[in-house]
């Protein structure tokens, strides 16, 4: 059994000491027979050394992978000369009990005829964090790419379809060769162009949501709902409906106003679109309850509803559940994506033939923080314009 002298660094070796202590890595010198550490640089000592009884200390103290049996097996190729160095990816536990991922390089050296191991250990927590981040960004990118693919495929379809229809109508007009444009054709052309316009708007909203950073700003739910309804007032079926609005907002609420607008526009227009044409009293109820933590938005209607088979798929891209559905199929998918960006949640409940209810929760970006009480409770009022 040979013993290695304890390593002393005195005044002449200040340069060496600086190099050893300041390179940002933990450096250990290990006795290859007893597997005891007989030198630690400053960084290693700070993590693993016990002032008072620093050396020798078994290498097994460093972490679970350093147990003597494994370690002996690990270093044997170094000792028999078959390998020059060993790389080890593992974790170490500091004396305070903190565990951190490391990359260790072990080599063997000889001084004055005595063999010893030099172990250089790098803390890779930062690298691991970056790896995770890259991996997350990569899946996000892949998701975006596949969505873009489907988007382009359907965009070409959805935009070309009304264009094809218009071409057809115009050819009929040309063939029919009369002096006056058949008013029925004119009406069909107008309907088709409006459809085309809506698809384009849907797509603009969609790509806006995909890329724009989520904004935060003061949100007033009462005016948001009013604005949405105002935008929809020329929609077919709007006049027939009785629309009931209840907004309760006592605090400042911060969120992305334009995204909230997209949510409301889509959900409210759906309620109008899918009202029961045979009903004597189609209605829609919009309820918003906003507090310092979140806003709960509930949109209920007594329209045609969603079948059991379709309800799980309504949020899918380009899925259109009903034969009545003449949209792009992007609406609810967009709603789902906006809710996701806002880190909220959405649920739907429906009975075919009876009605539908959407329930959303949107977090308040002013969560917990500013609680400036602004009494803004609005009594239920009928805003059927």
């Amino acid at each position: 059994m040979h013993t290695l002298p304890l390593f002393h660094l005195n005044g002449e070796n200040t340069i060496m000491k600086n190099i050893l202590d300041d390179n940002g890595q933990e450096i250990f010198l290990v006795n290859p027979e007893s597997l005891e550490i007989f030198y630690m640089n400053k960084k290693a000592f700070d993590q693993h050394g016990y002032p008072g009884k620093p050396f020798p200390v078994s290498v097994s103290r460093l972490g679970p992978d350093y147990n003597l049996r494994s370690f002996k097996g690990l270093i044997s190729p170094l000792l028999n000369g078959s390998r020059k160095d060993i790389m080890l990816l593992t974790s170490q536990t500091s004396r305070s009990g903190k565990s951190y991922p490391v990359e260790a390089k072990i080599t063997v050296a000889t001084t004055q005829g005595l063999q010893y191991l030099v172990m250089t250990v790098r803390d890779i927590s930062q690298i691991k964090k970056l790896e995770k981040e890259i991996s997350r960004k990569k899946s996000e990118l892949e998701k975006l790419e596949s969505e873009l693919d489907r988007f382009v495929h359907s965009a070409s379809n959805d935009l070309l379809a009304p264009v094809g229809t218009l071409k057809g109508l115009l050819s009929l007009v040309e063939k029919e060769n009369s002096f006056q444009l058949n008013p029925a054709y004119a009406e069909m052309m107008l309907k088709t162009v409006i459809k085309l316009e809506r698809y384009v708007y849907d797509m603009i909203d969609f790509s806006t949501n995909m890329k724009r950073v989520v904004q935060g700003g003061d949100v007033n739910f009462k005016s948001l709902v009013a604005l949405s309804l105002d935008n929809l007032r020329f929609m077919e079926g709007f006049m027939k409906m009785s629309i009931h609005v209840e907004v309760s907002q006592e605090v400042d609420f911060s969120s992305d106003e334009s995204r909230l607008q997209i949510l409301l526009n889509n959900l409210l227009s759906n309620a109008i679109k899918y009202q029961d044409p045979l009903s004597a009293s189609p209605f829609m109820n919009i309820q918003v309850i906003a507090d310092q933590h979140k806003a709960v938005i509930r949109i209920t209607d007594n329209g045609t509803g969603i079948s059991k088979e379709s309800i799980d798929r309504v949020f899918d891209m380009f899925y259109r559940a009903s034969a009545l559905s003449f949209g792009s199929g992007l609406g609810l998918y967009l709603v789902k994506e906006v809710v996701r960006k806002l880190r909220g949640s959405i649920q739907v409940a429906s009975t075919l033939g009876k009605g539908t209810e959407f329930l959303l929760e949107i977090p308040n970006k002013y969560k917990g923080g500013s609680v400036q009480k602004r009494v803004n409770v609005v009594k239920p009022d009928k805003t059927a314009l």
Partner: protein
Amino acid sequence: MDKKNYPTNDVMERPARYEMIMLIDDNPIDNLINKKMVEKENFSKSVLVYENAKQALEFLKTANETDLPDIIFLDINMPEMNGFEFLDAFAGLDEKVIRKSRIIMLSTSDSFKDLNRANQNRFVYKFLNKPLNDQVLSAINI
């Protein structure tokens, strides 16, 4: 069920090329355009129009052989049951239907995926862009 049976314009001299054709498209305007084109070209004696693929299938299941269409113009993009789903169900229909009614698929997309998928289906005779026009109709030779 949306079944429209229009006789051809009796000013036409040459006989109609087919007895009956069927249009399946969820857009009533597209159906109107196609029907008018078919009539102007005297392509068939009568035209059956369906806005719903499921309903069209019901008709095909129960119709007499003489009432079955010679050609079915089938749109791809439809809610509830799209063109490809219709083809899957069509495969399960009676031998007499499969023999008589040849299918031409109509679509707006240039999508290779759709084109390939349609051409690989043994019931699809052709894949055309919609809407129909005189040139395309005169090129059909089943």
